[in-house]
């Protein structure tokens, strides 16, 4: 029976030859990821249901990544990290990335790591997992975070789950899933240098709406997608959830395999590459020409509230924010630096690398012969330590949080009311190129003007 990639992965993990959309199947889980916000609750469910002496189904398959509330004085946030540490010790969890600068009895905001290459801490889970070899083609990866759909960029089935489901998986290693119908989005043509993956996915969400893919698999392909590096492919799949998607997915290719082999552990299984059959059935197909799109922005207060950057040139901004699993990867900062090199920002601009590896890349990666960090410093940006930071608001002392009703252009994923802090803050979602160009102009700006000088 012809199947899509998503159906093939679910069938393989359900021990079946084939599955159909709408069918409910129990699937074996390859990787379960959790973090400091949902980990303590998931651990609580696991202990309550399986007993105080229970063991996780496989301590090599659980990845725990504290990333949300790290640089805050909030004592419960520090306590939650301690809960993760205790669980990791008790269960012998193999993959844990400890914020080693949060010491026992820590008071106030913890001091940031001094050297991003010399800490066990990593930062944002969805960027840390692939960087550390935990995201592999053909696997089934669940995480207690809605942006777990990011990992579909590697040709894996990946989706977000709740605490109760994570508690279940911790003990049982499996979970029921309903096979989603697949929707296909093909981007033909070359990718123009003024567009980024963020523009493509904001365009799609504007097209189909924030519930346009509810419980569907969003499969992306076409020449423009194939030309993207893994950071950019992650941006596309990351925002599948903003259209209600169950998962986003891009078939693994040489770009994927080169990245994965570079990061894989020595004993990692050989990646399994699935491709959709030519006659597989799709609930909907969309064919788009990448070259026909303009830099795209989502206006307050919905990721589906689409406009072009050019249409919003009269919107003055108070702040620019470049960070998160969506827009805080090395490729995102390299793009922002193309605009910011030799320029100064007109509004306060926050730079938050997603992970410590991205933070180190700010020194390693150069644009016009200068490091990204030097370019951002000269432009007048403020650089913070790796974490989820203000993407989801968080405690009031969170770096970059909108504590006033500010107008912000942001490379993050959501602009719901109150998402970045203040309920009346106006958040415009954009690509790093658009965010950087807007930071320089002090108003929302099409980056094409900044790139042709």
């Amino acid at each position: 029976m012809p199947m899509t990639i998503t159906e093939k992965i679910l069938a393989a993990h359900a021990g079946r030859d084939s599955v159909r959309p709408g069918q409910t199947v129990w699937c074996d889980v390859d990787v379960l990821m959790t973090h400091d916000v949902c980990g303590p609750g998931s651990i609580g469910v696991f202990r309550e249901q399986f007993g105080a002496d229970a063991r996780v189904w496989d301590p090599t398959c659980v990845v725990i990544v504290p990333d949300h509330y790290i640089f805050t004085a909030e004592p419960r946030a520090h306590r939650n990290v301690e809960i993760l540490r205790d669980f990791v010790r008790e269960q012998g969890i193999e993959h844990y990335y400890d914020p080693d600068f949060i010491t026992a009895g820590c008071e106030g905001i913890p001091p940031a790591y001094e050297d991003p290459a010399a800490t066990s801490y990593r930062g944002v889970c969805h960027v840390a997992l692939p960087q550390n070899g935990h995201t592999r083609p053909g696997e089934l990866l669940l995480g207690t975070d809605s942006h777990t759909c990011t990992h579909g960029a590697f040709g894996a089935f990946a989706t977000g789950i709740g605490n109760t489901e994570a508690g279940f998986v911790l003990g049982a290693g499996k979970l029921w899933l309903r096979v989603p119908p697949s929707m296909r989005f093909t981007f033909n043509g070359a990718m123009p240098d003024y567009l980024m993956a963020k523009d493509l996915i904001l365009h799609v969400i504007g097209e189909i709406g924030v519930d346009g893919a509810t419980y569907a698999a969003m499969e992306f392909d076409g020449e423009a997608i194939r030309s993207l590096d893994m950071d950019e492919r992650c941006t596309i799949c990351n925002m599948a959830i903003e259209a209600g998607g169950k998962n986003g997915i891009i078939a693994a290719d040489e770009t994927t395999l080169a990245y994965v082999r570079d990061r894989a552990a020595d004993d990692a299984p050989e990646p399994v590459v699935y491709e959709s059959d030519a006659d597989a059935e799709y609930a909907a197909t969309y064919t788009l020409d990448a070259g026909a799109l303009a830099p795209t922005v989502a206006r307050p207060h919905s990721p589906g509230n689409r406009a072009t950057a050019g249409e919003l040139s009269d919107v003055r901004i108070d702040r620019a924010y470049i960070g998160s699993c969506t827009g805080g990867k090395t490729a995102d900062f390299a793009a922002a630096a193309r605009v910011l090199a030799g320029r100064e920002v007109a509004v306060e601009t926050f730079i938050v690398p997603a992970t410590t590896e991205v933070d180190a890349d700010l020194d390693r990666v150069q644009v016009d012969g200068q490091s990204l960090r030097a370019i951002f410093a000269a432009a007048g940006c403020t650089i913070g330590p790796a974490s989820c930071a203000a993407c989801l608001g968080g405690p009031a002392d969170t770096f970059g949080r909108a504590n006033e009703p500010l107008t912000v252009v942001s490379t993050t994923n959501r602009n719901f009311p109150g998402r970045m802090g203040h309920k009346e803050a106006q958040i415009y979602l954009a690509s790093p190129l658009t965010a950087a160009a807007s930071a320089v102009a002090g108003r929302i700006t099409d980056p094409r003007d900044s790139l042709t000088r």
Binding site: T24, W26, V37, C38, P40, G41, I43, G44, V45, R47, E48, Q49, G51, H68, Y69, E74, R76, A77, R79, N80, I83, T144, D145, S146, T148, G160, I161, G162, N163, T164, E165, F168, G171, A172, W176, R178, V210, D211, T214, Y215, I241, G244, K246, S302, L392, G393, G394, P395, A396, R414, F416, P417, G418, R419, K423
Partner: protein
Amino acid sequence: MDATIRGQAFVVGDNVDTDQIIPAEYLSYNPAVPDERAMFGRYAMSGVPASESGLPDGNVPFADDAGGFALIVAGRNFGCGSSREHAPLALAVAGCRAVVAESYARIFYRNSINGGYVLPLETPARLVEAVRTGDEVELDAAACRLVNHTTGEAYELTPPGDAAEIIASGGIFAYARERGLLEPKT
């Protein structure tokens, strides 16, 4: 799940996301600690913009000391956004036992039934304008029927399909144990 749920309705519009249901600043509370779990009830729906909180008039707090609202009536895509299970949990702790919406975001829907927090039912007709916050409503869960005692109107809701068995069990753990998929709880 209760067979019959009767009480006051709280009405909201479309795309009420989980940041509105429970704002992120409260997520450092650990739902596994009883005293902290109670805090989610206090802040349930506190992120909904005031003008949208309790339609049609707005400015109605969801969580108050009067015992709260038994049922939420919502439009499309209720519970979109974050996977935080704190969202259906917060509604349940605040005394809410069911949601009747035109559609749900999938993770919220799964969390609601797998954790057994609130009964999420879909309505084929839009009820956001037909029910007013404070109306006395009664939900017959088995019959999938909602009666608005304030107006005398009755509405047929969509049966939950495959999920009905997990709902009947009260959550994923009970469901799995009843079918021998997990060892009995010790």
